[in-house]
Assembly symmetry: C2
Homo-oligomer: 397 residues x 2
């Protein structure tokens, strides 16, 4: 049983945007206006729903909910795409009884394809009828594309004898390298929190989670995380007088985002591994990030992981070309906790034998020390597999 | 019959660095001291032979030749690697009758593996006996690793009634994203050219060729291009009084490098396509390069090319996340010469039908205009295939 924050209801319908018989249009609705925060893709081509959300959040602190569809991304669709976004938004808002500017839209699917308005309209009765009768699982299923499983996570905050909840839902398996943005993610919370504080908390949570994963280094045009807090729990988080409460909510929000981010990498298209790349000892965090991303996005490192090959040479080569500043003589690298490279040369003999067991695991750990600086960064990455190629040579993003 | 520049001879032997019966150790020798130029990897981990070449070229304008091996890269091998490089260099120099500091070393193969000195020593008689009896083809075969075919190119310069030649040999199929460096490349020229000018010419030729290709975005630890000009043709290129001659030599050198660079992409591991990405209208060349590299290294774009899928949305998304500055509304994109995206939306209806024939070709053309700026950049890239994954999940770089 998934714990739903108080005052939130869900609706979902099958509009056949891609194929019959699967949820692909859904709404998350708060009974009362909820404090809203959003983080969006940094891709220069922002999809129509992203532009609409940014416009709405610029003028409103609170909204009633979000509407999301899979099948068509409504990205790179020009003026017509923006018009279609507003028309579909108005239809969905009407179905659940709110104004269109109280609803934030999100779309995922094929870039360049227009929203199928006729199918959207035909799905409205089912959407309206399902409100309150379906839950987060149906909502999450409705936003899946190449995802193999729905991604949900939650946390509970206990503070001053009161209880509040955070519920997160996300989708994503390919075109994943959020890098200062993120995939589709939706967060519901029933704490009572001040708008500016909630936006700061979401930015911080996203920076520590979705922004630190990569599947293929490709940042989508539709990435966004929308977070609503409606206060229905009565648990009030006061930014000035409640440092403990603020910390409790921040921790809960970050944990939910980190869990969803991990699930996205675990569900990476064709992926068989989740590798945690931890860079330490860099001059600063930015230098550590450069090194981590070079390793996490290296096709040679990723294919070696798929081959269960402790190919440390490719990792070292990726760090070397990353652009990070460091002295090669002071670099040390450990895989699965075993230091295998130090002082510019291999440190142990039978590396393959030592690491064979670790390389067979689903979760691989790579730690690289670039020196004695304070900079560190952690990136979660998937491997690169035959299945990834087959999926993306066929599937139309 | 490959036209060899005057005064150059070759030697090759089978040292079984990887397996029996194939050339893997070779020398290119000039009868007289030749003006030498080198361009090297920008990877922070530079292999022992790269460090040795840089040291030699810092103190000498002329050398007698180069010695190259495949099988072991002698990269990330620490102090021992540098010692082994010098020992093997001394052995090879002795076999062809020159001093060790007159020979420039280059190695390619598995990172982290030491040169097998015993096999190197055992191969010396064959190396010595073959001097002048083998040619550029045997030399080129000796430096192949995952290459499917040897890569040679040549050009002839006619100036002031005299004739000079440029011959280039290269290897490379994976771990290719030279980016300010290049793969193993060797150039022989019998023009008589001043050392500083020759080094400038090589830098310019490499910048326009090897530095503008990518297979997998991974820059190797051993990349280098070494160019020798021995003047044996008698054709003197005077930098001050001979602008025409200088231009003729620069053109010949650049053409040879561009031909070899194209062959490397054509031989990309598992590759089925060579895509020419041409970015125009950018604010400056750097902005154009950012966009070109984002497209050329995008796994989603590369797998779509493998799938013969005119998936323009992925190309647009890659340009959008490239970091290049531009106004999305002014972007136009053509594939195979047909403009399919303009003003933020698709420009034609049946894109797949229009481009089907072009997508079936080996050579694909993508042209993106970012606006009306003067910046432009051209990048040659391969596609990403099931075969690439299989090769790199098994082969140990």
């Amino acid at each position: 049983m998934i714990p739903v924050p108080k005052g939130f209801r869900f609706a979902a319908s099958k509009a056949a945007f891609k194929r019959e018989g699967r949820y692909d249009l859904a709404v998350m609705l708060s009974d009362t206006p909820a404090v809203a925060a959003g983080v969006f893709t940094t891709n220069r081509f922002q999809a129509a729903p992203v532009l609409q959300c940014i416009e709405t959040l610029a003028s409103r602190e609170r909204v009633r909910g979000v509407v999301a569809n899979s099948g068509q991304a409504n990205a790179c669709t020009g003026e017509q795409g923006l018009v279609n976004c507003r028309v579909s938004l108005e239809m969905a808002a009407g179905a659940v009884g709110v104004d269109m500017d109280e609803l934030l839209p999100a779309s995922t699917g094929v870039i360049g394809q227009h929203i199928k308005l006729d199918r959207w309209r035909a799905a409205l009765p089912e959407l309206e009828g399902s409100l309150g009768k379906v839950g987060p699982m149906e909502f999450t299923r409705a936003i899946m594309t190449t995802d193999k499983f729905p991604k949900l996570a939650w946390a509970t905050i206990r503070h001053n004898g009161q209880v509040a909840r955070v519920l997160g839902m996300a989708k994503g398996a390919g075109m994943i390298c959020p890098n200062m943005a993120t995939m589709l993610g939706f967060i519901a919370c029933d704490a009572d929190v001040e708008p500016g504080l909630w936006r700061d908390m979401l930015r911080q949570a996203v920076e520590r989670s979705f922004n630190r994963i990569t599947v293929d280094g490709d940042t989508s045009t539709n990435d966004c995380v929308l977070a609503l807090a409606n206060g229905a729990s009565g648990l009030r988080i006061d930014p000035t007088t409640e440092p403990d409460g603020r910390q409790a909510l921040q921790t809960a929000l970050s944990e939910v985002c980190e869990a969803l981010a991990y699930m996205i990498v675990q569900d990476a298209e064709g992926g068989t591994k989740v590798v945690r790349i931890h860079i330490v000892g860099a001059k600063d965090d930015r230098q550590a990030e450069l090194a981590a991303r070079a390793v996490g996005n290296s096709p040679l490192v990723k294919t070696a992981l798929f081959g269960r090959d402790a190919n440390w040479g490719r990792i070292v080569a990726a760090v070397g070309r990353s652009g990070a500043e460091f002295n090669p003589d002071y670099v040390a690298m450990a895989i699965g906790g075993i230091t295998i490279f130090e002082g510019g040369a291999p440190k142990v003999g039978d590396i393959d034998g030592l690491l064979a067991a670790h390389m067979d695991q689903r979760d691989i750990s790579i730690e690289v020390s670039l020196g004695d600086g304070p900079g560190e960064y952690t990136l979660l990455a998937s491997d690169l597999t035959v299945e990834y190629i087959k999926i993306n040579a066929d599937y139309r993003t």
